[in-house]
């Protein structure tokens, strides 16, 4: 008898559950239920991302509670591996990711420009900043300020730079103290580093002076933010230039020795770009996940659980567009998601920049 009762309960719960889920989220067109139904039939969504599973975990778990029956298969890869794998799999045409979500903004835009993305106008478009949507295919999903990070134990309080000019001054006046103690992404070996340097040149007239000063201070260049922060907290280096605010925030919660500065003169803001693959086997589940990370519910988790910074103005918390605005006012400079990013991949420009950089690295 007990079995019958509990079976009945389960049946009711299931019926109620599916009934509730079949409704479109508020503000979405009524026929959105069709996408949900189709996605449930697909049963899973395959995601390739550069966001490490550590940070993405709360998003995935919440998505799976919101849409029971749709499993998230999540792979975190570095941006090069992600690109390599995706173009090979797309060409082989026997299954690849449904959704690509990468912090390598230029490579993502290139894939969209090369026709690898499905055009899909998300119902969330109207809630997003203009610069974050391109061709109804590429969507910015985060609002990550690029910060200076420093060791609170070992950097004297008077030295802590408030903006780029401060940092330049500090390196010019205390060159010996900071010799070998500054760290940054290496634009020669890291795509992110290259992107950062180029944006700096657009936003900061003295950018090359700063690069030269870093060269004179024998800055140590890395390809991974984790390696840089590990070495800043240990005291091997003291100040890291150009770290994703998201990584820094997550790390500083565990280790109070890590200080974060959003530069007051201008703060570059990058965004993780997502798009749905044209070769997606589960396109509807892909759309559902994309809409979910752009939705208020998803962005709330992005801001407050994953520390990835929300780009929606209606989300509250430290890691949000609001939080960043509070700190730097109107000095935030989001990198727009559009064809200008493709210039970064121009070979001639790249080689020209790199040879100039090599000079700067020597302090010349």
């Amino acid at each position: 008898m007990r079995h019958v009762v509990s079976a009945a309960f389960i049946a009711i719960a299931l019926a109620w559950g599916t009934g509730a889920q079949a409704q479109a989220p508020q503000g979405y067109p009524a026929d959105y239920t069709k996408i949900i139904e189709a996605a449930k039939k697909e049963g899973k969504v395959v995601i390739y991302a550069t966001t490490d599973a550590v940070a993405a975990n709360p998003l995935i778990k919440d998505f799976e509670t919101l849409y029971p029956g749709i499993k998230v298969e999540y792979s975190d890869l570095n941006s090069t591996e992600l690109y390599n794998r995706f173009i090979a799999e797309a060409a082989a045409n026997n299954g690849t990711a449904d959704l690509l979500w990468s912090s390598a903004m230029d490579l993502q835009v290139k894939l969209v420009a090369d026709g690898q993305a499905e055009t899909y106008a998300s119902p969330e478009i109207k809630t997003l900043p203009k610069w974050a949507v391109w061709k109804d295919a590429a969507y910015g999903t985060t609002y990550e300020p690029i910060a200076f990070v420093y060791n609170k134990r070992l950097v004297p309080e008077g030295d802590v730079p408030k903006d780029h000019t401060d940092l330049l001054k500090l390196l010019d006046t205390k060159t010996d103290f900071y010799k070998g103690k500054i760290t940054a992404y290496d634009p020669e070996r890291s795509g992110v580093g290259y992107l950062f340097c180029n944006e700096d040149i657009k936003d900061f007239p003295q950018a090359w002076d700063l690069f030269k000063a870093m060269g004179k201070a024998q800055a140590k260049l890395y390809t991974s933010a984790g390696a840089m922060m590990e070495r800043v907290t240990s005291g091997e280096h003291l100040i890291a230039y150009g770290i994703f605010g998201s990584y820094a925030l997550g790390r500083s919660k565990k280790d109070p020795n890590l200080g974060i500065i959003l530069p007051k003169d201008y703060t570059m803001v990058t965004s993780r770009v997502a798009f749905i693959s044209k070769k997606a086997k589960n396109p509807n589940a892909g759309k559902l996940f994309l809409d979910y990370i752009l939705s208020k519910r998803g962005q709330d988790i992005i801001a407050n659980k994953a520390d990835l910074y929300s780009l929606r103005s209606d989300v509250d918390g430290e890691a949000t567009i609001k939080g960043v605005t509070q700190l730097v006012g109107d000095k935030a400079r989001p990198v727009p998601i559009d064809q200008t990013l493709l210039e970064n991949l121009d070979q001639a420009k790249r080689l020209a920049f790199l040879s100039k950089w090599q000079q700067a690295k020597k302090g010349q």
Binding site: A92, L107, L154, R189, S224, A227, S234, E236
Partner: protein, 556 residues
Amino acid sequence: MPIVVYRLLVLGVTTLAVATPLSLVVYQSFLTAPFFDPSAQLGLLAYSFVFADPDFWQALWTTVTIACGMAAIAVPLGALLAFLMVRTDVPGRHYLEPLILIPIFVSAVVIAFGYVVAIGPVGIFSTLVKDALGFVPWNLYSLLALIVIAGLTHVPHVYLYSAAALRGLSTDLEEAARVSGANPFRVAVSVSLPMILPAILFAGVLVFFLGFELFGLPLVLGDPQDVLVLSTYLYKLTNKLGVPSYQLMAVVVVAIIAITAPLVFMQRLLLRQAQRYVSVRGKGLKTQPLRLHGWRWFAFGAIVFWLFVTVVVPLFGITLRSFVVTWGEGVNLLDVLTLDHYRELTDYPNVVRGILNTLGIGVIGGAVAVACYTAIALAVHRWNSGWTRLVDYLVMVPRAMPGLVAGLALLWVFLFVPFLSPLKSTMVSIWLAYTIVWLAYGMRLVSGTLLQVAPELEEAARIAGANDLRVKRDVTVPLIKYGMLASWLLIFLIFVREYSTGIYLLGPGTEVIGSLLVSLWGTGAVDLVSALSVVNVVMIGVGLAVAVRLGVRLHG
């Protein structure tokens, strides 16, 4: 099934497994775009780009320097170590033997992470030394440090071959020298080591070759000062153009193969030479080990010091890191102790899967791999034909491809061979990659065992009327059972340690600890990396302990 069919079948499958990824890489290097891109054309563009790049030559030069330096350190130390362990009365030899081999079985990335924490600029040992001296007398990120670490961690490779050669030699000549008044050092340098010169040379070439394969050490230790070797140059190359470029990577791989392939064949020649030398072996009486007298404890101390630097320091470093939140200058480690990193491991399904998959690939994958190696070894066993030489060369070909690239090539194979593609996201792809990459090593293990089976028993069976396959199944295989078990253990250790081959095959369902470590290091999850490294070391430690307990000789 007649034996000829079996032999040709095995030969065919092996050729296919080895040649497909390799030819794909070579073919790709002569194209102007990825091979699956419709706009790809034949051409030498990729070659001219790479050869015109000064960084390529810089990386090549660094690689050669490292390989030479490694050999210069590892060869004399390894040979001397072998002499001490095999011929003299150094105390505690029995306990030292398994310890000496640890560096072979610990992943290079784990060792590198450990060194950063232990003797990096603000490492635990560095700060101690700095307190005493006022400065840190070494720079972990210099080329010199990389060479010394690479050299010291490869001492066991030389030790293995030298010790095996020494054991095969009679001690008559050494005793003669001793009686004539030579001191033990003189005996080693003037008598013992010259006798095993071919084996030492062989080991030297091997170490030089392994220098070209280095990936984990330069990846971690070369990063801060931009010390590029060919394998890490592959990364930088991608960024030069902004867009990852298969054809340029393929060119670098072809360049690596062009250097390593001759080395592999040189090894073969030397090995044959070495065995010829050893033919003067005598079944001497049990002899007394050379007495070192006062030098006894000095030699012991030297070995322990080497073990301390190459094993204790890095493993201590990584273990410590896994139990603290932060570390470095001005941090009291007692304040920051934690078990959180280990708890966090279970939060991530991919990490949990990675640990299980690693065990699986070691235990099950290792067993299946040994079965395959045995199948190949049996096919050429007692087969007087030119084909056997082909197989000899064939199994060595994958050795010339760095694991990272072999993984990428296999990804292509799994993508574009229709009946294989469903297996792409399963452990089968990882297993196949590992099995191919370690083909030469595994074959040496199994054929070594097969060589110990005298032909009489097989002949007896044949005379009694059994056909060739029956003989193999009922006589040869049961006779080498123990050898196969030993091979299984060694392959387990190698598969659990492996980190570079799985990187490009990493995905949901194909996580293994090694490639997760590299990937997590890239995203900066150092906490997880350290805890996972310790898990990996523990697995290997258990495997080693079982091997020692069962009395497995830890070499082929």
